[in-house]
Symmetry: C2
């Protein structure tokens, strides 16, 4: 019996900000799986800011490839349960992560590498954490936070750290990890509620709402002596403010520039680059997908902290595959907190959460 | 008998490009030297691009302090001969370097630190090289070239290296040092004659005149596969072209941005910073004055190469202190090749040169 699956497709390339009407949901008949393939019934899909870079006719040079219209959204991290397998090492009932996202059922090639390995088919240990955590803290977000702090920024003991988008999936992890190791951590976000969250829930030393004034001034108010590390999730005026505030030998870890993702224009880089020379600063870009080697360390260190509630991990979950476009639009508009997910189907670990 | 000395002073803060009329030469009566001071009869003064950052009412944040009008130009590297000493370790006839520049005689405090130590009073070994070389290859320029290649850019064996201002004092050293260790080296400069010099004299693998077209296109023509290291002496369109051409894990060493030194506006930073993230690039600023610890290595390694002529070291020497303003103006206009110097007085090693 052929099996029907629903899937989200891009219906048109967004003009300006991404809208829900740029997507369509469609029924498809699944093919029989071939050798080295598994059929997965998906439970959760990951909504990541950088995804919108692929919703374009041409993705930026050096990035994952652009998505064609009216094709399934390959390259979106997803978890689910194997219902049929022709791949060695995978069997019915296995809980897995893969990259054939935003659809009810996925046919997954066990040999295909996605996102430097982060999205490659992989069996998950759900005794350690619920499956969906492997889409965030124990997956791309956690790896990205570690790569930024320890690889790109070379975090040191006395560093004063500023994390932008600190209420987001990567930012909230980076901020808390730095805080736990004893650094002074400043967070910024786009609403008063998020600022309260950063201070009261995540326990950061200071926080500000970047809508309350020029970023440079907001930052100076909470860090009058300057900063040593900037974890950049925003770019633009945030990066320029950081370059102005970084002390000698300071380091900025450039994770992505969500402020520019939806812009067609090439934004002006920091106008104060001279300070990079005079203060011997480093601006270092990085992507989680280049650091999948950190995965076991991330899982080993963060899973116990998530289980005990020492690490806060808020989630914004949109219910139902048909709401994936809403999830994307709201996440990019800054309406969500923590990890943004789409619940595609029910799973055995739906009720597992960490202590909050 | 009071001794009269001539000295260059800033007469007005330049508006737009620096002009010779912004300077004045004045006679002053020298004070008697005090304890820990020496009196030096100067022979050569160094003309450095970044000097113009101090010819302003306010120097850029993080840089050496601005120069007041109608005061001697402290902080300009100079060599000369001690004629009187009240400082332990220095005696009459010693050849020294110091930072009390652009004047006939200098009273130098032996304890005062200048430019992170590069400009602090120091006795020179003129058996190793002529004194004036300690103002360039064996001083600030050499230290800066080393710091850029090995510290900021972390030069590796197979790296393809682009050096801008490659006919300048720092650039020509950086380019040749990289070339000698086996790297493929591309140089850029601002005239056809300089390009010929880069290819025929310095032996670089490729070179272009940035006036011949958009830098991005000129670079792509000589490095179609991209580059791994960019030694930036220019900033602006050069840095943006480099960010576009740097391959994954590429590194840019930001030494200064002469294209912006004489501009009042804050120039737009690279508009393609997204590539820093996607290709995991590093942009790292540095200043020679933070790396004076490299001095002995630089002297030890470069002096024999200079003596044997294996390292080319062209000099543009302006004769007479009264021509220091010309030297500054011409150096900034790109009219000079190699190290730009002002001959202030005769010295015992005037005729020492390296094989060319």
């Amino acid at each position: 019996m052929p099996r029907i699956s629903h899937q989200i497709e891009l219906n048109s390339y967004p003009i300006g900000a991404i809208k829900t009407s740029d997507f369509v949901i469609r029924d498809v008949t699944l093919p029989e799986i071939g050798p080295n393939e598994v059929l997965v019934r998906n439970t959760f899909g990951s909504v990541d800011p950088a995804l919108c870079l692929r919703f374009r006719e041409t993705a930026p040079k050096g990035y994952f490839q652009a998505l064609a219209l009216h094709t399934p959204l390959d390259g979106v991290a997803t978890v689910g349960e194997v219902v049929q397998s022709r791949a060695e090492g995978f069997g019915e009932g296995d809980v897995v992560s893969h990259a054939m996202g935003f659809r009810e059922y996925s046919v997954v090639d066990a040999n295909a590498e996605w996102m430097g390995g982060i999205g490659t088919l992989r069996r998950l240990d759900v005794d350690v954490a619920p499956a969906r955590y492997y889409l965030g803290a124990l997956g791309g977000s956690g790896i990205t936070a570690y790569a930024g702090l320890f690889h790109a920024a070379q975090l040191r003991d006395q560093d004063v750290v500023w994390v932008s988008s600190a209420a987001g999936s990567v930012g909230s992890l980076a901020a808390q990890i730095a805080k736990r190791r004893g650094n002074v951590v400043i967070g910024s976000a786009g609403s008063a509620a998020k600022v309260t969250h950063l201070l009261d829930e995540l326990g950061l030393d200071a926080a500000f709402n970047y809508h309350d004034g020029p970023v440079e001034e907001m930052l100076a108010a909470v860090a009058p002596e300057g900063i040593d590390v900037y974890f950049d999730n925003v770019g633009g005026d945030h990066l320029e403010a950081a370059v102005g505030a970084l002390r000698k030998w300071g380091r900025a870890a450039l994770c992505g520039a969500v402020s520019e993702y939806q812009s067609e224009d090439d934004a002006c880089g920091p106008r104060n680059l001279f300070l990079v020379t005079s203060n011997e600063l480093s601006l270092r870009g990085f992507r989680g997908s280049n650091h999948v080697d950190l995965r076991e360390q991330v899982i080993g260190e963060l899973a116990p902290l998530l289980a005990s509630g020492q690490l806060k991990y808020p989630e914004s979950i949109f219910e139902g595959l048909e709401h994936a476009p809403d999830a994307i639009v709201h996440m990019l508009a800054g309406d969500t907190v923590g990890k943004t997910l789409v619940r595609i189907g029910s799973g055995p670990d739906d009720n597992h959460t960490v202590a909050q």
